[in-house]
């Protein structure tokens, strides 16, 4: 009896572990904000200090993910949608029907620019979706703020313009003209002529690396750093001229579509493609990659539209198109726009399930499609076609809530200048472009012994080279390692003097003699 009393009183003294207010079991959408799978410190084979550190880290990461998920309540806008009622189908709605049903603000975003003199138009939106750049094939370049209809400049360069792109913000743009690539100011003033980029078909700008990538008829992929002006890489694709290029926004890898139906992925530091995929039986005509870097849509001359999972390099779905698609674009919320002949077809949820009917359609009478691009952060698709440019409303295309610190459509001049400086400070190096950008900062799986062995071999090779001794030919792991190459390398190292070597030695001697001879130049003394 007394014992029980004691227990009771003792229990009063000991308070049970109350859960802190901030600790929640699960918050909606929490998974979107976690990066990778969590570590279970209890099951790890590690010392108590490391376990405690990991446990704390995991707790903090979980709390951060939950806080980010809770912060979604502060989002001001919601995504758009278009739903058909009764017997209607969303694909049958025309733009003028939509214009009657939406507010003035949105209906003003539906417009048509009739520019039938200067050829099919290529277009580009800035990263914040505020400014639009048009480039007509026959030489017309125009840049304007399409939401307020304020024209920045309009010019005619009197030669072919094959592609146009904005650089890091609306103050600079690049145009791929007949022979070279030119960089213009937003007042239309030509700032640079890039004579390294010859006969360019497509331009892409990597915003976080400040790299301008170009590919042309010669089949060279060239990267130019627009902040330092340095030509970072010139890569020979060896697959002929190329006119289909897109960037993967998640890892900044450039995807090229070639005439033999292959899609190759490139990084500036590798002279060979990172990945080579055989996608179509005929030429690849259009490609698009979704913003999360997971899915790619390709279209080819074989009238097929294929959807791929880029992470696993597998085909998800295959569709037949009535004509080869001229352009593809994927919006921020995963809508796919296909431009073929004079029509635009928009598909919804195409990456998850096989779709039987498109989401929306748009016909641009009498004008062949050239270039499509979804406007970021807006429910708008820009269509560049033969007779000009039109802007159509696609509900549910754009991300409703933007982040002011990344891309701000309501940027003032000062904010734009600050953002430029911050962007330059955070500029990533071209060496950091890789297929999986999350690997930066992670440890490799190579064991310590292997790393030490490689280090010792490197040192031995360096020492041997310094002493001009024949080094032992070791098996190289990186790069192509064919047996022929190894044989040739071995042959080089030994002291073999054959006819080739004698010939080159003779040539060298002759060259040295020529250089040693005094140059018979005309000097002022010779007049006397």
């Amino acid at each position: 009896m007394a014992n029980q009393d004691k227990k009771g009183s003792a229990a009063l003294l000991v308070k049970p572990n109350k859960k802190k207010i901030a600790e929640r079991h699960h918050v909606e959408n929490e998974e979107k904000y976690t990066r990778g799978s969590s570590l279970n410190a209890k099951k790890m084979k590690a010392g108590y200090k490391l376990k405690e550190k990991i446990r704390k880290q995991e707790k903090e990461a979980k709390e951060a993910a939950q806080a980010a998920a809770l912060a979604e309540r502060l989002h001001g806008e919601e995504a758009g949608y278009l739903e058909a009622e009764g017997m209607e189908k969303t694909k049958n709605f025309k733009q003028d029907q939509l214009a009657d049903a939406v507010d003035i603000n949105t209906s003003s975003k539906i417009f048509n620019l009739d520019l039938d003199e200067f050829g099919p138009y290529a277009l580009d939106y800035t990263r914040n979706g505020r400014h639009l750049l048009l480039g007509g094939k026959k030489g017309h370049i125009a840049a304007f703020d399409w939401q307020t209809s304020k024209l920045h400049f309009e010019t005619h360069v009197k030669e072919t313009v094959r592609d146009v792109t904005w650089l890091h913000n609306e103050t600079m743009l690049a145009a791929a003209q007949k022979k070279y690539v030119f960089i213009y100011d937003n007042n239309g003033m030509e700032v640079h002529r890039m004579k390294n980029h010859i006969e360019v078909n497509k331009l892409e700008f990597l915003p976080y690396h400040f790299l301008l990538a170009s590919v042309g008829n010669a089949g060279y992929l060239k990267y130019q750093d627009t902040s330092t002006g340095q030509l970072v890489a010139e890569l020979r694709t060896k697959l002929g001229g190329c006119d289909t290029m897109t960037q993967n926004p998640w890892n900044a890898v450039i995807n090229l579509g070639h005439g033999n139906g292959t899609v190759t992925m490139w990084a500036p530091t590798m002279t060979t493609p990172l990945v080579k995929m055989l996608c179509h039986k005929a030429r690849v005509t259009a490609m698009a990659v979704d913003p999360s870097g997971r899915y790619m849509a390709t279209a080819g001359l074989d009238n097929k539209l294929k959807v791929w999972d880029i992470r696993k390099y597998g085909l998800i779905q295959e569709y037949s198109t009535k004509a080869p698609a001229a352009s593809l674009s994927i919006s921020q919320r995963g809508l796919l726009a296909v431009g073929w002949n004079s029509q635009v077809t928009i598909w919804k949820d195409i990456f998850r399930t096989k779709q039987t009917a498109p989401y929306m359609q748009h016909l641009q009478a009498g004008s062949m499609m050239n270039d499509l691009e979804f406007c970021p952060f807006e429910d708008v698709l820009g269509v560049g076609h033969q007779k000009g440019m039109s802007s159509i409303v696609v509900p549910g295309a754009g991300e409703p809530n933007f982040d002011s610190l990344e891309a701000n459509p309501y940027q003032t001049k000062k904010q734009r200048q600050e953002a430029e400086v911050h962007g330059l400070l955070d500029k990533l190096q071209p060496e950091m472009i890789m297929l999986d950008p999350t690997q930066i900062g992670k440890m490799t799986r190579a064991t310590k012994e292997e790393a030490q062995k490689r280090q010792r071999e490197d040192q031995a090779e360096q020492a041997a080279e310094a002493d001009d001794l024949p080094t032992k030919d070791r098996k190289r792991m990186r790069g192509r390692n064919s047996s022929l190459k190894r044989y040739l390398r071995k042959k080089e190292r030994r002291n073999i003097v054959d006819q080739d070597k004698l010939d080159t030695m003779d040539q060298l001697q002759k060259l040295q003699k020529d250089q040693a001879k005094p140059s018979s130049g005309f000097t002022t003394l010779d007049i006397f």
Binding site: G80, V102, V393, G398, L425
Partner: protein, 446 residues
């Protein structure tokens, strides 16, 4: 049909007046923020480089002493004051913010070997090789250049420490003696072997415990309540100085002749808690920061090094051509500055963190600096960042000495490994933390 599109009104996104701040929208979705790791790595790299650019640790040098500065202590209650004693018997009270002497006195005829803060107001004590201990009060109305009390001893004193609350103090010399401020003779004599004692230090947390280190390479711990020594530890080389952790009651740091500083737990002295290596000559003095997390050591090799108490190597090293052998170091009580007293007679004020901005930082700056620190911590293991962060200029003699020391230690290690390889009876490797401790003995209650 049911239709809704994104339709933003600029009133929600643009500020109303030019005096307002700009409206900021945030969306933390990772798809909108690509290249997280790459951008953070670049920011960490830039932060490391800026950290090295802004690393200007030297604040000021206080000159005034004629002979070398051999002992220093913190002022009893003023944050910006410090007391130093020099080799010619002069004691100065410095005002660190004005960087000048606020009070000085020719205290002793011999070298001042110890200064310690007293109990009341701004009283402090000093002991010297001229066999006297004196209590001073700089703010006394009449005759502030005369000591309040003088105590005469039998032999020259080498160290002094005052109890935190009671009017008691301990001196070291030939033996360790306990004095009462009201008595002119020591009230107790502690001795356990040893032929002379170097330093004594009272524990500031567990105020009845104090430690002493002797020339026979021992560290002895005593308890006032039992009036007996508790335990004794013998190391391979002599300890020069001891400092008790101001936060933890049982931890103390020692500065040893074998170029290392050790951190011990009083309860288990068979092995050190931590070994702080990096000096190339005997470590003369050690001091804890008021947070108990950082340690500053001053060494005979003309440098002072700053350590994190939990890690094994220094995070920074300070040296000047003008600073000769460092005999005393103190951490300031706001844990922002470090003071060094050296052979050349100057007391130097250094920043505890070399690239820290002094002065008030507003909230945005503080947040930014905290973010940069966290980034450096997360990406600090990467080759480029590590290389830039670790790079320090050290004098060429120290670099050479360090190189030679490393070579010799490596050679010994290789020999040891080879010997172990062919040894039939596998002996466990000697732990670095217990290698230099020869023995520990506890006082049995008699």
């Amino acid at each position: 049909m049911k239709i809704k599109t994104i339709s933003r009104s600029s009133a929600d996104y643009v500020r109303e007046r030019s005096q307002d701040i700009h409206k900021v929208q945030r969306n933390l979705d990772p798809t909108i923020h690509p290249f997280e790791q790459g951008r953070e790595y670049v920011r960490a790299l830039n932060a490391t480089k800026l950290g090295r650019m802004f690393a200007k640790p030297f604040v000021a040098g206080l000159s005034g002493h004629i002979d070398g500065v051999y002992c220093m202590t913190k002022h009893p209650h003023l944050l910006s004051s410090m007391i130093s004693g020099s080799g010619d018997g002069e004691i100065r009270v410095w005002n660190l913010s004005e960087q000048e002497t606020s009070w000085s006195v020719q205290a002793h005829k011999g070298m001042v070997t110890g200064v310690s803060a007293g109990v009341n107001n701004d009283q402090f004590l000093s002991c010297s090789t001229d066999k006297t201990i004196k209590i001073w009060q700089p703010s006394a109305e009449q005759g502030s250049s005369e000591p309040l009390e003088t105590y005469l001893g039998q032999y020259s004193f080498t160290g002094l420490s005052h109890h935190r609350k009671d009017p008691l103090f301990i001196t070291s010399g030939n033996s360790v003696e306990l004095w009462d401020e009201q008595r002119s003779e020591p009230i107790q004599d502690f001795a356990w072997g040893a032929d002379s004692y170097q330093t004594v230090k009272f524990n500031q947390v567990e105020t009845n415990i104090f430690s002493s280190c002797g020339t026979d390479r021992t560290i002895v711990l005593y308890d006032l309540r039992t009036s007996k020594p508790i335990s004794k530890m013998i190391m391979t080389l002599k300890t020069n100085a001891i400092c008790w952790n101001p936060i933890e009651a049982y931890t103390f740091a020692t500065a040893n002749e074998d170029h290392n500083a050790y951190i011990f737990d009083m309860r288990n002295m068979k092995a050190a808690r931590n070994v702080l290596k990096d000096h190339v000559s005997a470590v003369m003095d050690v001091d804890y920061s008021p947070t108990g997390q950082e340690i500053v050591t001053g060494s005979y090799d003309r440098t002072i090094r700053l350590y994190d108490a939990k890690r094994g190597h220094s995070y920074d090293v300070y040296h000047t051509k003008r600073m000769q052998r460092v005999f005393s170091v103190q951490y300031s009580m706001d844990s922002k500055f470090v003071l060094s007293g050296s052979d050349d007679g100057n007391v130097r004020i250094w920043k505890a963190h070399a690239n820290e901005k002094l002065g008030i930082k507003d909230r945005r700056e503080r947040t930014h600096l905290e973010y940069m620190d966290k980034l450096k911590e997360r990406y600090g293991h990467m080759k480029e960042i590590k290389r830039i962060d670790r790079h320090r200029h050290v004098p060429v003699e120290i670099k050479r000495a360090d190189h030679v020391k490393k070579e010799m230690l490596q050679a010994r290690k290789n020999k040891d490994e080879r010997r172990r390889k062919y040894d039939q009876h596998k002996q466990p490797r000697a732990s670095e933390r217990s290698k230099n401790i020869i023995g520990v003995s506890k006082q049995t209650s008699s």
